[in-house]
Amino acid sequence: MDSKRTYPAKPDSVYFFGTCLVESAYPQAGMAAMRLLKEEGLRVVFPRQQTCCGQPAYNSGFAEEARQVARTQLAAFPRDYPVVVPSGSCAGMMRHHYPYLFAGRPEWEQTRRFAERVFEFTEFMRHVMGATFEDKGPPLRVTWHSSCHAMREMQVTEDSKALLRQLGRVELIELEREDECCGFGGTFAVKQPAISSAMVYDKTEDIRQTGAERVIAGDCGCLLNITGNLEHRHIPVRGQHIAEFIWERTHA
Amino acid sequence: MLNVTREKILSRLKAAIGDTVPAPPTVCMPIATFSPEEKIENLRTRMEAMRTEVHLVQSDAWIATLKTILQARKLKTLVYAPDTWMAPDIGQAWDDDSTDLPAKIPFDRPIEDFKGELFEIEAGITTTCGAIAETGAIVLWTDASEPRTLSLVPPVHIAVLKADQIYNSFCEIIQAQNWTAGMPTNALLISGPSKTADIEMTLAFGVHGPKELIVLILKD
């Protein structure tokens, strides 16, 4: 996690790992990400056997259950295509925690090689594809929320913001406490609801203070949490995944 | 019983580390290197930022500066160690003219016979064995010739430092002065007057140690 990674040349095909939250709650974000990848000339493969990266169980102490589920993913992405993930958190799980999860086990070598192929979506678009976007939308003020794992594990916050900054008519207003967790933390939100609520309240307050009309994020866990609290508090700021936002801005 | 405890702890530790291969030793590197002038400047800047009063003086004129400082503060008592290199200078200077100067009191008895007096004295003066430019600290090497409480109990601490004894880093002074060959009862790094931020993170000076630290840097 200490040094910046080196990136491969543009491939012909990529795998797309949708994540469980995109699967059931934010499928449009997943579709937008895949369409953007296709527009870069890539063949986007969506293996139907994929499910969840396993992080919820892993973070709750249920490592064995996480391993069982992780094996399903290892099997679902057999070729050496890059695996693009529209979530810093799930990408971090697959890239940094799979090797730990399988340390000392037969799958370790396979896991390590798999982990090398995992990329967060904005990281991949920026560093591997060198994607450029033409903004076709009306002027808009947005703010950006980075997930903790995108920031600290995948270290891709700057990549996401670099993509947003390509959108000429989008004004990006940064949060005052961008580096602070929104309080989602997977099962943390339900195991420590009082602390989690206090954290998301402060996050949405920060968002409100920017005066932005939308909050863009790269992780649907955070989005679920933040938009849930924004609605709960009747704050009229819309939350959107960065892939869906970029698709919307470039296809207005 | 205590030896049993010791053996039990050590054998548990031995069993715990088993055949762990120790990580390789690390090398201590001075982080910065300064020219002699930069050393003085950096030390001064760092220590002034910690609210230390720093005076850069010619070696042969330091005692005059000391007198001025003491007179300006209207201090009544100054404690010093009678066996240091600077004690004769102080003796001579006071003999020459002690107008408006504090009474100089030698720390010449064990603290048990001196404690009551010491806790009432207004200022103490000490030598230093060097300083650290990088972080900004003077180094005191207390021993039979210079007691520890001199730089601790009186509300004003005056320290005299020779400019050629300023080192780049803490590591450097440890190596250059071969500290590992023999540490004194007490070695000290001091970067400023006593301070605290325990109340609302508000910085306040002069808690339990000296309220003022004055450093005289003597250069040739």
């Binding site: 602390i195 | 590591c171 339990h208």
Partner: protein, 476 residues
Amino acid sequence: MPETQPFDFKANIKKALADKQLGKNLKSAMDGLRVKRRAVFADTDELAALRAQGEAVKQRALSRLPELLTQLEAKCTANGIQVHWAETVEEANRTVLNIMQRHDATLMVKGKSMLSEEMGLNHFLEDQGQEVLETDLGEFIIQLAGEPPSHIIVPAVHKNKDQIARIFQEKIPDTPYTEDVDALNAIARKTLRQKFFSGQVGLSGVNFAVAETGTLCLVENEGNGRMCTTVPPVHIAVMGLEKVVEKLEEVPPLLRLLTGSATGQLITTYFNMITSPRRPGEKDGPLEVHLLILDNGRSAILDDPELRRSLQCIRCGTCLNHCPVYVRIGGHAYGFVYPGPIGEVITPQFEGLEKAGDLASASSLCQACGEVCPVKIPLPDLIRRMRREGVGQGEDGCVRGFGTKRHLLEVLAWKAWALVNRYPRLNAINNLVLSRVGNRMPRLGPLAAWTTGRTAPRFAPKSLHQLADEEGLPHA
């Protein structure tokens, strides 16, 4: 620490979150500490090098612990320091009391020491009729208030100046109410100076103990630590056995990391290196110096290669300052001596999971703690490990109370989750069900917790799999 009532984390959290003054006090203090730390470590390359060095020094020392402790003992003994060993806090407290009694001492002046908090030393000595006085300003304040520290470095950080003014007015005779920080400081100085003068025994912790020279290093700003270790005729230093390092040269990087991480200082006012009691011809300093080396569960922690890394801790407190949970609930809510991320890791190991396993739930695993730890303890990994130990997973299970946080419903839920996510066909059915009835789920259990501060999640009418099929995306 003796507890008056059983630890109820949920209740503590509720109380802490309801205390708006506490929240304000903590926020402003922690914000300040983070800003100062960032400024002092502005050179990120230098910080990375320092952290690597700090980690290596501590790891090397841990891997040679018996050897270094033996060397430290031999060197200290040769220097005239009397070395004592204790397996438990009871033994440690008894040793301290014996030394006091041997000198007919009735007043101990104490420098700040988290280990003495771990020992519950003050309560123990007070029960034995001894007077024990905390002399660090923050510790002094909370001792007057009858509270334990709420932070490793800034123990009274949960109090603001009006609260402190009231405590001083009530507890120190002839003290007027004042909110002026300098005046409060002067009151403490005056009160404690008399005690330094008359204290018969001074007690301190140890930040680093250097094996090659037998030197005890103490880091402080106020001068009270120097007072406690210099003025009374007897000095007792207490250290956890993980505090030993081999070489004096290894101390400077650790010192930089400690002061920078703890308070954003390049160096503290004092760095106090004590190598012996008063030597012949010297005019002051204690006539006796005792070093007490305490295990209290540390050797068991060393036994596990992963958990061992928690012994690298230099007690800087920066993981607390950066923890979004600590910043909101403060140290007291954690119920034990060490709060915050490091507390979530070491407290269950000291106290057992049954008593303290819930602490590991107090993390969103945001990794801020791991990112700033000056000796690179993988705190998030270790918090996860505590959760694993709590639910009884893994063949590694070595923490006391392994599996005591295992609840049948939760186990079943994860088994069901694993089933649904192992088999793509089941997963498809699950997603179908979610899309049909997910938005009409009763607000029970986890959903009830979720909706305390948020609207319920909304599931899309079509899953990503369905949309991918419709778009004809290739399978392989």
